[in-house]
Subunit: 204 residues, 3 copies
């Protein structure tokens, strides 16, 4: 049941991240391969960095068809039903927030299963959640949005910390996963809705 839940969240998060990749790539005059590449990197880049840092090779997202297939569905859907994408901006934001929470928590969880230290779990949990968005912006040659806009990585940080705390106190993993992903989702949701931001330090 834990596995089924994780799988569902994982697929949903991958789909949402891939969509955000397509939307970012669309205005750049990329060809079909370019759009697919950006979508895949956005969805799977964070997990690939995590797996490389863990020595878990090959990274899970290039070891099976699942992530390629989900990415392909996202690309096909968003190019075929352009009209819907605009209508679906809000659902896509929600999916993205779900992906953020899921990836932060499951990223940290995987590190702990591999016997990594708590600090490694927290860092790689955040990287799993935000690494794809970072790489998307690097390849699209623009400043990384997640380093600027509303609370994003910080929400993932909270989720990863909840996962590690739950592990430390020996709480049930299923519950901790849900709570961590849920809290991340809610922080992201409210920070977007109410325009919360971390302090900035512009050239002074």
């Amino acid at each position: 049941m834990n596995n089924l839940l994780l799988l569902a969240l994982d697929v949903l998060g991958t789909f949402a991240f891939a969509l955000s990749g397509v939307i970012a790539a669309k205005n750049r005059n990329l060809d079909l391969f370019g759009v697919f590449f950006i979508a895949f990197i956005t969805a799977c880049g964070g997990g690939i960095i995590r797996d490389l840092c863990l020595g878990a090779t090959p990274p899970v997202s290039i070891a099976s068809w699942r992530y390629l297939f989900v990415t392909w569905v996202a690309v096909f859907f968003s190019l075929r039903f352009k009209f819907w994408i605009k209508k679906l901006a809000y659902p896509i934001f929600l999916f993205d927030a779900v992906g953020l929470g899921t990836f932060a928590v499951t990223g940290a969880e995987k590190v702990l299963h591999y016997g990594g230290a708590y600090e490694t779990a927290i860092i790689l949990g955040v990287i799993t959640a935000v690494g794809g968005g970072l790489l998307r912006d690097v390849f699209l040659n623009r400043p990384p949005i997640i380093l600027e806009k509303e609370i994003y990585a910080s929400a993932a940080l909270v989720g990863a910390c909840i996962m590690v705390a739950g592990n430390y106190f020996g709480l049930q993993e299923f519950v901790v996963t849900l709570v961590g992903a849920g809290v991340t989702f809610l922080i992201r949701y409210f920070s977007y809705r109410y325009k919360w931001n971390l302090p900035r330090f512009m050239g002074d």
Copy 2:
């Protein structure tokens, strides 16, 4: 004989990719180290990502002098004989297409030898062929050309798929290598000559 052929193609491809790195770096006011770095990353970046994803550490291109030496020859040649480079634009394009085919096929081959899945072989075959060009553009701070221009990564994809199909059907590796690299070369050649492009999706 297979090994000798692969070695020759590998050196030729590395040389061509390094040249394309030098040419891209030349107009950026980089210093000598910068030019060498970009040339090396263009030639070897794809293979480095492949080897990291396979857990084949250290990556082969930093484990021997060969790739450094070939890169150095390319840098020396192109800075010393500037005049020739312009004359040689067409041969360099041909070398680059040879490199694309070779790297796609040998990249996929290496994954299969490491016991990787078919999907891993296909993805990393493409990455071996196009990763260097991607990293070159990232470090030169410009949008990745291969995501925009004529069929490039798609040609590598065909080559990697041929390699995997040949392995699946148990065909002789030497033949499959030649056919895969050859088909990739021809697709690239004709797409360049006749300006074939994948469909694009510019902001609509």
Copy 3:
């Protein structure tokens, strides 16, 4: 004693590199997480690439609190005492040069301890020293400074070569470490002071 010296140099270098990350990030309107992320990548990015290439996972900088803590001190210090940062431009340059020398030498040393080849030690020594600065510029979406400005990577190259030569001739590691880091520091210092540059190849 060797270990204590290395630890001190390592902390000093990490601190200086993190400061240079903060200073580069400050004018980009990043939020607090963004500033911290850039500082951490600048300080630890080179070591992370080295460890991934060695298969030494997880990379040492995400396996303990030390590097996170030093980065945090650098971020806190530079945001809290903005006035000092300007006054301290020269000391920060000196720290940075110390970091360059230390990272080049200890990077090469780590590769040799892992049984890597001499060429691997030299390449990864340079990468350890300059990789963080490269990644900082990639994530800040600007052309990599170290590929353009005064002798920087070349100084690291000399340090890594000294380390490898010392190992080859069986000299005492403690002495070689000091000499290698010292020579790198001096080359960097004089090249900055007297505006030495490598030859450039601007669009001709």
